[in-house]
């Protein structure tokens, strides 16, 4: 059976695209799928360090697309998670070296060899974005609960619809305490504003910084709340579509918040 190309995109930078790509990719591999994660951020590669594979790079995606090597030569196998592979970006080229046609050719090959190929798109909506979405079967839009990221997500969602791709949304870095206080948009608010289906909700988690520091995939840390959220997202992608979406909740249930909840004063 042919695999799927999934693009992870956001418009705005710094909302957690790379972390999401690495985590969802690793989680899908842990579910028993053959997975390739592809860094499409040419010139600003980072997926390799997030996954802790930076010192094993020989070839990159630009080499593959421009036929300087085979796909198999550029694939870096993760030694901790079976069936997880990385195709790194090139650090010395700029985003214009790839062509949609070339990307489509490589995507075809990826689909024949993997169950999932996840493309980590660069920020922005220019050529790098075009190249990342050109072969996509599905799209995941990542946003955080702040106005700038949601506005950019809306723009990207429009661009994806224009290509007949129906994206799904991951709201990242939710801080339940702030949401409860009314100082942060809740996921319901975000869904009211954007016309898109929800794929998952990821809480703010210090463990993300720690696991990125050491290059260990987040989903391997069992105590990580964000890691657990990404594992559920992966399950939902992988056919368990009726798995309920967990809403991040505040850790401290103080007397006041409990009374407010009882009185039904919070939404």
């Amino acid at each position: 059976m042919e695999g799927k190309i999934i693009v992870v995109t956001s418009g705005k930078g710094g909302v957690g695209k790379t972390t999401a790509t690495a985590s969802i990719g690793a989680a899908l591999a842990l579910e028993g799928n053959r997975v390739a994660v592809i860094d499409m951020d040419i010139g600003l590669r980072n997926l390799d360090v997030v996954l802790g594979l930076e010192n094993r790079i020989v070839f990159n995606i630009v080499d593959v697309v421009n036929k300087r090597c085979n796909l198999s030569q550029a694939l870096i196998r993760d030694r901790r998670i079976e069936n997880l592979f990385l195709v790194p970006a090139s650090q010395s080229d700029n985003k214009d070296v790839l062509t949609p046609l070339g990307v489509q050719r490589v995507a075809k090959q990826l689909k024949s060899e993997f169950d999932y190929a996840i493309m980590d798109s660069p920020a922005g909506i220019e050529k790098g974005f075009e190249n990342s979405v050109v072969a996509a079967d599905e799209a995941i839009v990542v946003c955080t609960p702040d106005v700038s990221s949601i506005r950019d997500a809306d723009r990207v969602i429009g661009l994806l619809y224009a290509r007949s791709i129906t994206p799904r949304l991951v709201v990242n870095r939710i801080m339940p305490e702030m949401v409860a206080r009314g100082d942060m948009l809740s996921h319901e608010d975000v869904m009211d504003v954007l016309s898109i289906d929800l794929l998952g909700l990821v809480p703010m988690d210090n463990q993300v910084v720690i696991s990125t520091n050491s290059g260990v995939p987040l989903v391997m840390q069992n105590q990580s709340l964000a890691g657990q959220a990404f594992r559920r997202i992966a399950k939902r992608i992988n056919g368990e579509s009726d798995l309920p979406i967990q809403i991040p909740t505040a850790m401290n249930t103080g007397i006041w918040s409990r009374i407010i909840q009882k009185l039904g004063l919070t939404k």
């Binding site: 809306d154 723009r155 009314g182 100082d183 942060m184 948009l185 608010d189 504003v193 407010i260």
Partner: protein, 91 residues
């Protein structure tokens, strides 16, 4: 949490409600923005269609988007020099 109560009863809106309102407004406004190229192409097309029926003064025509509080309108203004007679006869 106590602050929350004060906020609730003092009638002050929470910052997230402000954020939501601003966002909804921004998204609507963003979608109404038309780039120069689209406007030029549109003008070319309109002129082409109208020119089949009328002789128009292409130098003094105007195409613009007028924005008001509640709605946006596309306004096309052109002086007609004469109706093309042969066209009317044909039909």
């Amino acid at each position: 949490m106590f602050n929350d109560f004060i906020k609730r009863f003092s009638g002050k809106t929470s910052s997230k409600d402000t954020a939501k309102k601003r966002l909804q407004f921004a998204l609507v406004y963003d979608k109404l923005e038309i780039n120069e190229m689209t406007l030029e192409n549109l003008q070319k097309d309109i002129v082409e269609v109208i020119s089949r029926y009328f002789e128009i003064d292409t130098k003094s025509l105007q195409l613009e988007v007028q924005r008001e509080k509640e709605l946006s309108a596309l306004v096309f203004n052109t002086p007609i020099l004469c109706v093309k007679k042969n066209r009317a006869l044909k039909s």
